[in-house]
Amino acid sequence: MEQFAQNHTQDTPSDLLVKMENVSFSHGSRVILDGIDIEIPRGKVTTIMGPSGTGKTTALRLITGQLMPNAGTVLVDGQNVPELARQPLFELRKRMGMMFQTGALFSDLSVFENVAFPLREHTDLPESMIRDIVVMKLQAVGLRGARQLMPSELSGGMSRRVALARTIALDPMMIMYDEPFTGQDPITVGVIMQLIRKLNDSLGLTSIIVSHDVAEVSRISDRLYIIDGGKVEASGSPQTLEESKSEWVQQFLNGRPDGPAKFHYPAKDYAEDLFTL
């Protein structure tokens, strides 16, 4: 199927698919991202980690163009996303895939119809070809036999896998995963982890994962970013970070309750609190 081959780039590993330069974003008076630089190399799995609410999902939204940065450039495949007009942005989005935390399957369509959706919307392929593609995508995620089920009948893990099949339906150049492991049982986590890595390598994709499941993500990522307070606290390969001298990074990676990020919320002296009226 040659018409999808064009999305597979044959670039050197040092090429960057996404380059966020000096990006700042604020929501009202709250600064979420403060002049950060993130580079996503092609063909690799990059993970953005950090404590909750530090702007990881915001970064994804900036890449898809759903949000506009207050400053800085967001280059995706050479194009500056915030400056794109509606039509070019739409075209770019067709080459991106995003997997949402909740799967976000369309509840009134069957599994088959969900995966077929992007094909029906964006291509003029005949029904027989669509059927074949859907079956292949479902096979890749191991759910070929579930195609007639409705989303309400699927378990959490299964609906995420269907969402993944839907995301790869149009053979995108990159896939973004928004908290894919959160709240899943260990088996499902294992399944999804394997799928992410396998698909990335076999389809020549670039994968961006946003997660704070350190153990899982370290195993499959080529590169890690840890964000806190709107800035990049650390970046590098999982190996590099494990050997990091920063106490904060060590606290985060090892899940220690106390360290540079304090356990106690700032309060006055305990004895004073108990004994004053």
Binding site: R93, K94, M98, F100, F106, S107, H122
Partner: protein, 263 residues
């Protein structure tokens, strides 16, 4: 003094945010109307929505129409009989239904049943990230989700109002003629002589079209504008019903004054 000042500024904030919302609502309506083309290209979307919005509302509309017609007849008889004018029952029931009760009550019931369902459905799609997913897949939610529902409501409302009025008249007949002994011939002939097609029926239909537009607009907008949390959706559904009620009753006054005021 401070409390007073903060109350005033709080009021100012509310007014500004209301105006903001209305502005967003207008822009929303604009986008919806711009997506009208999809109705012709993907007619099945409209059909599906007309089923969920219109067909499923028939039950409550029909039952309400019947009971309202019957009650009108009962109450009307009690009052008219004092003037010896009970033979005019037919026209009283018909005029009340066609001019006011039909369009207004249908609109309010519609807002409560179909309107709130629309809001909840769209709001839920926001919560489960189906709307952003669609956007990221470069599919326009206005075309696939919003416009079909909007037009389904717009078309269904006048039909439902007509059903309400028609069944109401039949209900009035049942009570008036069968139960209370009003003469059948008088019931229909008085009605026919006093209810004008253009003055009453057409005006009633115009009212129900206007109500349909406003109620569906509010319902779909509130769903689209809801905060993507369960609490946000529940508040949005409440707002749909409340705002629809205000809008319908307010517009009813204006339309009635315009249409029937002169006479």
């Amino acid at each position: 003094m401070n409390g007073f000042l903060s109350a005033i500024s709080g009021l100012g904030r509310k007014v500004i945010s209301s105006i903001e919302r209305m502005g967003r609502g207008q822009i929303f309506l604009f986008h919806t109307i711009m997506s009208t083309g999809v109705i012709f290209k993907e007619f099945s979307l409209l059909v599906k929505q007309m089923h969920s919005v219109g067909v499923l509302s028939i039950q409550i509309i029909a039952v309400s129409g019947l009971t309202v017609g019957m009650v009108l007849s009962l109450q009307g008889y009690n009052t008219l009989v004092d003037f010896g004018a009970e033979q005019s029952l037919g026209q009283m029931v018909a005029l009340s239904l066609v001019r006011e009760m039909g369009p207004v009550l249908t609109a309010l019931l519609f807002a409560g049943r179909a309107g709130s369902a629309l809001t909840a459905e769209i709001g839920l799609m926001k919560v489960t990230e189906q709307l952003p997913a669609m956007e990221i897949m470069a599919v326009d939610p206005y075309r696939k989700i919003i416009a079909p529902r909007f037009y389904a409501g717009l078309i269904s409302m006048p039909l439902l109002a007509a059903i309400f009025s028609a069944i109401g008249v039949l209900g009035g007949y049942l009570v008036g003629v069968e139960l209370l002994g009003v003469d059948s011939g008088a019931f229909w002939s008085q009605m026919q002589s006093k209810v004008g097609f253009y003055e009453d029926i057409v005006n009633g239909v115009i009212k129900s079209i206007v109500f349909g537009l406003v109620v569906t607009w509010i319902a779909v907008y509130e769903g689209h504008d809801a905060a993507p949390t369960t609490e946000g959706v529940s508040r949005a559904t409440t707002r749909t019903v409340v705002n629809s009620a205000f809008a319908v009753l307010g517009l009813d006054f204006i339309l009635t004054a315009l249409m029937f005021g002169g006479a």
